[in-house]
């Protein structure tokens, strides 16, 4: 399942996948796979993404 919350948060910050990837220290493909729901990141990477996008873990990764 796609992580639309993460895509929206990234677009709100006007960041490309490559820029977000650089900010959190992973490859662009990894960000793409997380957004498409094809890769489960570790908690460490989730936190780094949250910090880079200014969101909380609940806001980005919690599914209701």
């Amino acid at each position: 399942m796609k992580n639309k919350k993460m895509i929206m948060a990234r677009l709100e910050r006007d960041l490309s996948q490559a820029e977000l990837a650089k900010a959190v220290g992973v490859s662009r493909q990894t960000i793409g796979l997380i957004e498409s729901g094809d890769y489960n990141p570790t908690l460490k990477l989730c936190k780094a993404i949250c910090v880079a996008l200014g969101k909380t873990l609940d806001e980005l990764f919690w599914e209701n």
Binding site: V26, S27, T30, L33, P41, T42, L45
Partner: protein, 171 residues
């Protein structure tokens, strides 16, 4: 290399290791069956023993709390409840049954192979094999009991350690 790439490489390397390990074991068995000399397959035997030990050592050094798994690869609930304990006992029984049946099968195949090799495919050899069945069943029973005892002691200790470590992480 990021975490996803590391994970993909680790998974691929684990598969390669398993294939190589099976290859080494097959080569070792072939060498032994051909010449019946242990000296010829010492390297293969050493590798077959060293690889699981090294994997254990390196995974242990990661110091991660690993959920206890049975020999069959099933997760064993480490909870202290009666239901969890019943599940654990069932897993120990299954483990012991699998192990003792496998060991007995190896013993039977080995004994049959030895007898046939020595005497040829004669009927008297088959009657010897049939006569040996009670002995094999006895061995299987002893193997089952010994393995059950060892499995129970080891996995009960593992599940207690898991609970203890989890308590430490809760603080």
């Amino acid at each position: 290399m990021d975490e996803r790439q590391k994970s993909a490489v680790s998974a691929a390397m684990a598969k390669v290791l398993v294939i190589l390990y099976i290859g080494v074991v097959i080569v070792g068995v072939m060498k032994f069956v051909t010449n019946f000399r242990i000296v010829d397959c010492l390297w293969e035997m050493a590798t077959a023993v060293a690889v699981p030990l090294l994997v254990l050592l390196f995974t242990h050094r990661r110091k991660r709390t690993v959920f206890p798994m049975s020999l069959a690869g099933l997760a064993i609930s480490p909870d202290r409840t009666k239901e969890a304990k019943r599940g654990r006992v069932k897993a120990y029984l299954l483990d012991s049954l699998q192990f003792s049946l496998t060991m007995t099968a190896i013993q039977v195949v080995w004994a049959a192979w030895q007898a046939l090799r020595a005497n040829g495919m004669r009927l008297s050899v088959w009657s010897d094999v049939l006569r040996a069945i009670p002995q094999w069943l006895g061995d299987c029973g002893v193997c089952f009991i010994v393995f059950l005892a060892l499995d129970t002691v080891l996995y009960e200790w593992k599940s207690r350690r898991y609970c203890r470590e989890n308590q430490e992480y809760l603080i």
